[in-house]
């Protein structure tokens, strides 16, 4: 069967690296605003009617949006099993915290407005705010730790993942910066949607908080950039790379160098477009929201910013996907952490067929649900949240 695959192993690995990025960006853009709306709930919506406006804006679509995370998780399992095994078990308690947040979310959306008791509703609002903030924080902290390198390796006899860190070690200053950046990004993104598709006071507050979050994102992103350039060691493979070799992360040698994560940007200057999108998108979002021009454009600017930030991290790390701080040579890269040639090929075929279909019907659902969400529109909807 191997001989029937028209793409060589190395090419497929790069494609799957790109697809992983696409799914993560899809999750950030699609579910990011759900997380942001939940996180901003106490800030942008004060009365119960206002909160229901905010919740019903994302109510019809958040379930589908969350599947981007599920699909990304599945794709990591199927295409990058070593990454899935090493990172999910290594970040165990952090993952538990994210799960706690993600478990509360569906129930919060669905059950909050089932009872009129203010304490009931207040508790669920708090749970939703917690869920949006904490999920974004954990994902950001995890990303920050990946850039720093994580204390993980493999037992050479069995290839069993070994992790030597613990939960509190994850919260280093740089990782916290990445975590807060992740929170301000979802807040910016959620606010951009609220400012565009709600009215009156909710929209006005969303513009104000959205602009603040966007400026904060810009500042944190720039500080993070300088930190990576001058204070963090990047990894580089120093042995010969065979892009088609079997996935074994223990056969290479790796050197560390401060500022090394910027190397790719020197080799491929076009990569600077990613941080440029991250910074300019946030700036444009802040400007548009401040001057009261919230709409599709400010939402797209916010999406571009989010995508730019994620791409910047992905480009900086390439070919690494999970650098190791304890055993640098055991860090996972695009060339040595993937599933087999056949599995990558089958999964590529499945994705090429299914993802366009998903995108098409998702677009249709958004078209059906277009328009502003107001207190009146909720009162007439039979199943409103």
């Amino acid at each position: 069967m191997e001989t029937l695959i028209p793409l060589d192993y190395g090419t497929l690995r790069v494609i799957w690296w790109a697809l992983l990025g696409a799914l993560l960006i899809g999750f950030a853009i699609m579910d990011g605003f759900d997380l942001g709306v939940a996180a901003l709930l106490p800030l942008v919506a004060h009365t119960d009617a206002e909160r229901r406006v905010a919740l019903n804006l994302v109510g019809p679509v958040w379930e589908g949006n969350q599947v981007w995370l599920i699909a990304a998780g599945g794709a990591i399992f199927a295409a990058w099993p070593l990454l899935y095994a090493a990172s999910f078990s290594g970040f165990y308690l952090a993952m538990m915290l994210a799960l706690l947040a993600l478990i509360l979310r569906p129930v919060g959306f669905k059950y909050r407005s089932k009872l009129e008791n203010p304490r009931w509703r207040g508790s669920w609002d708090a749970a939703l705010c917690f869920s949006g903030t904490i999920a974004a924080l954990v994902f950001g902290v995890a990303m920050g730790n990946v850039i720093l390198g994580v204390p993980s390796g493999f037992d050479p006899d069995t290839m069993r993942p070994v992790y030597s860190g613990h939960f509190f070690q994850l919260f280093t200053p740089f990782a916290l910066l990445a975590g807060v950046l992740s929170v301000t990004l979802v807040a910016m993104h959620g606010a951009a949607l609220l400012a565009w598709r709600t009215e009156d006071r909710v929209a006005a507050r969303a513009r104000r908080w959205g602009a603040r979050a966007a400026l904060l994102s810009l500042a944190l992103f720039l500080i993070g950039g300088f930190w990576v350039a001058y204070g963090i060691q990047g990894h580089a493979i120093t042995s010969l790379v065979d892009p088609g070799a079997p996935s074994n992360p223990l056969t290479k040698s790796v050197a560390l160098q401060t500022g090394g994560w910027l190397r790719n940007f020197t080799i491929w200057p076009a990569m600077w477009l990613a941080p440029a999108a991250g910074a300019c998108g946030a700036l444009l979002t802040a400007i548009l929201l401040s001057i009261g021009r919230a709409g599709l454009l400010s939402f797209l600017a916010s999406s571009a910013s989010f995508a730019g930030v994620i791409l910047t991290a992905g480009f900086a790390l390439f070919p690494f996907i999970l650098p190791s701080s304890s055993q640098p040579a055991a860090g996972l890269t695009v060339w040595d952490a993937s599933s087999s040639h056949l599995t990558l090929w089958i999964m590529l075929l499945a994705t090429l067929i299914l993802l366009p279909i998903v995108t098409a019907y998702t677009a249709w659902v958004y078209r059906v649900m277009r328009g502003k969400v107001t207190a009146e529109s909720i009162d007439t909807a039979p199943h409103a949240y």
Partner: protein, 525 residues
Amino acid sequence: MIDFDVVNLSRFQFAATALYHFLFVPLTLGLSFLLAIMESVYVMTGRAIWKRMTMFWGSLFGINFALGVATGIVMEFQFGMNWSYYSHYVGDIFGAPLAIEGLMAFFLEATFVGLFFFGWDRLSKLGHLVVTWLVALGTNLSALWILIANGWMQNPVGAVFNPDTMRMEMTDFAAVLFNPVAQAKFVHTVSAGYTAGAMFVMAISAWYLLRKRHIDLAKRSMVVAASFGLAASLSVVVLGDESGYLTTEHQKMKIAAMESMWQTEPPPASFNLIAIPNQAERKNDFALEIPYVMGIIGTRSLTTPLLGINELVARAETRVRNGIVAYETLRHIRAHPDDQAARKRFEEIWPDLGYGLLLKRYTQDLSKATDDQIRQAAFDTVPNVAPLFWTFRIMVTVGFYLILFFATAFLLASRGRLDVSPRMLKIALWSLPLPWVAIECGWLVAEYGRQPWVIEGVLPTYYAASGLTLTDLAISLAVFLVLYTALLVIGVKVMLRAIRKGPGDASDPLDPAAPGVPGRIPLQA
């Protein structure tokens, strides 16, 4: 090296979260289909009552769906979190159906479920009906891919062990896809879900009829549920996944354990109606046997023998011995990757590697394993007989009871007499938990019965866990126990309120009992 407390707690956590998730999934499977049927009737006849039925059962579906989604996220991440060696060892095969499930099924289900609730005024009648059917389709496809993944754990086809990457790798995707165990499991599991959905609608409708509320809606719902439930409960039993049980060695062991059948009997084997299994002495302290029945059920023939546990253990012993050779050959290849002769040898003997790994809990150096240790490892292939024996019998008894129940309900319904028999209505109400009892037992038979393997014959469960600490497990278990208990209480409370409130139509007489319910607060539509 391997901490067995961590392994056991990880197993407990996985079982607890899976069994909990599996409370909501069957109802989603069954109700989504029933909603699609009801709405189809609405679109075909144009009668408003069917729309009200769809919306009412839909609101209960939503309450259940939220919990299904919430607990489902855990399932996908737990493989990596608690079973990292598993994820490395078989991710190449097992990850694919999970990823495709997300892309093909869960996206479909979750994207359209929002439109199901929010699209009533924004879509044409037919447009909304299509949305409802797509939700049902997505739900069922989701079950299909999950069971393809699970089927591979029971019968790992289409893959080989690669010494260079130290893991199983896919060689034949079609074999994974059309795995007979997966196919049988899919039909069996979704039918069980349909039965649960039908029972749910039956029981709640019966409660309304007993209280003379929402009579029109309840009667019609019962007719739909009775016919759907009869078809579904028949299909659970007739198309039970026993048909897949003879395909592999451990599936044979599982069936022998389910029957507490220690010795191979001359065919056709007898069926142990009741038995007291004695695992230590490898015999039954007591057994009430029905001649011939087991052989016929198990093999669909009069002449094929069913192997007993002791004979299967003897065969396992041979495979453990071969497994030592496979393991030592693998070590040799790892040290001398260019030895083509060793690689050639390994290609023939790798299928017994997993049996060799069973020995790792007794000795690190397999080449020095004693005969005692080998016998012990072989006996480890026997799952815990007594719980399997009994959970299987509970499941089957409930299954037959449900066929009888739905057949009676269907007969009464076809004569238009379902609502006039208070006794039948009460039986319907009190039978509500039974499908869930059978379903949870079914999960235990399939997955607890798979032990000691996580991937049958390939990877022992204890060998697959992450190297976590006891503190990690204590914290995660505490979080799950507290959170899941709270969610169950809240979910049941919200569900009961919605049921008590009913479809909420002015034409229905108000529930006389409702205002007296303590702490009752008017509900938001």
